[in-house]
Amino acid sequence: MAEEKVVVIGTIVEPLPNALFRIALESGRQITAHSAGTVRSGHLRLLPGDRVRVEVSPVNPTRGRIVERLN
């Protein structure tokens, strides 16, 4: 049985408290993700509508980390 790929592309739906974001994946699924340290320390502002690359947690598929902004 094939495994679903961990690194996916999504769109930021809205910011959540504690530097979390609600992200809509291309599959339609919505997850919660935080911005990875490199993204955050680069002072990158993440806004609703931004397309981002996300690593989905293999342990909890509803959580992930934003590793790159693609806009």
Partner: protein, 248 residues
Amino acid sequence: MITVKSETELQLMRDAGKMLAEVLDELEGECRPGTTTGEIDAAADRLIRSRGAIPGFKGYNGFPKSLCISVNEEVVHGIPGKRVIDDGDLVSLDCGLIYRGMWADSGRTVLVGEVTPEARKLVDVTKRALHAGIEQARPGNRVGDISAAVQKVVEGAGFSVVRNFVGHGIGRNMHEEPQVPNFGVAGTGPLLRAGYALAIEPMVNAGTADVEMLPDRWTIITADGKLSAYFEHTVLITDGGPVVATAA
């Protein structure tokens, strides 16, 4: 962390793989016009249990059957049921079993009856892509070498590589690290060592690489409705080269 399997475990995986290959060979023979996918699933369950193994897919994350059957525009994870196999269909069988604690995962696309030359080419290219990937599965190479080899064969033939689903490490669990995409850059990714085991499974679409999920939350179909093919082997990484545990 990618686990190294002991000699005992590797031998058990070879046994499990040989068993699964025999099961798939018999199931291939059952793929005839008029047979339902449910009947093939019942046969798979019976064949696996009669050999003293467990059908690993059943109950995995809630999957209800013993194998995935994906027909034509279905890419992977089709659920066996009332669908009747027809002349000209491309039927992908994806099966896994657990034997004495060790997994084997393998599959193939079967051409039923009279198929179009394009369909035949798709299946041929997918099989070749798998073998190109297996050739790279050696200690000292990286996962990206496998991925790039598969991608080159597929795109060289004008087909596309499904990106949302990937191969995987395998052993005491079906899905282990590392993920093995069917696209990538040679020389990148985790280093391969002797004792690793991978399930390499190119999923190839005739048209666009994009896929969608059906409301059943399992079946994946091509976004453009065109055909898809798939082949899979469980491969052991050894100093002597790749050992295909599930070889026919």
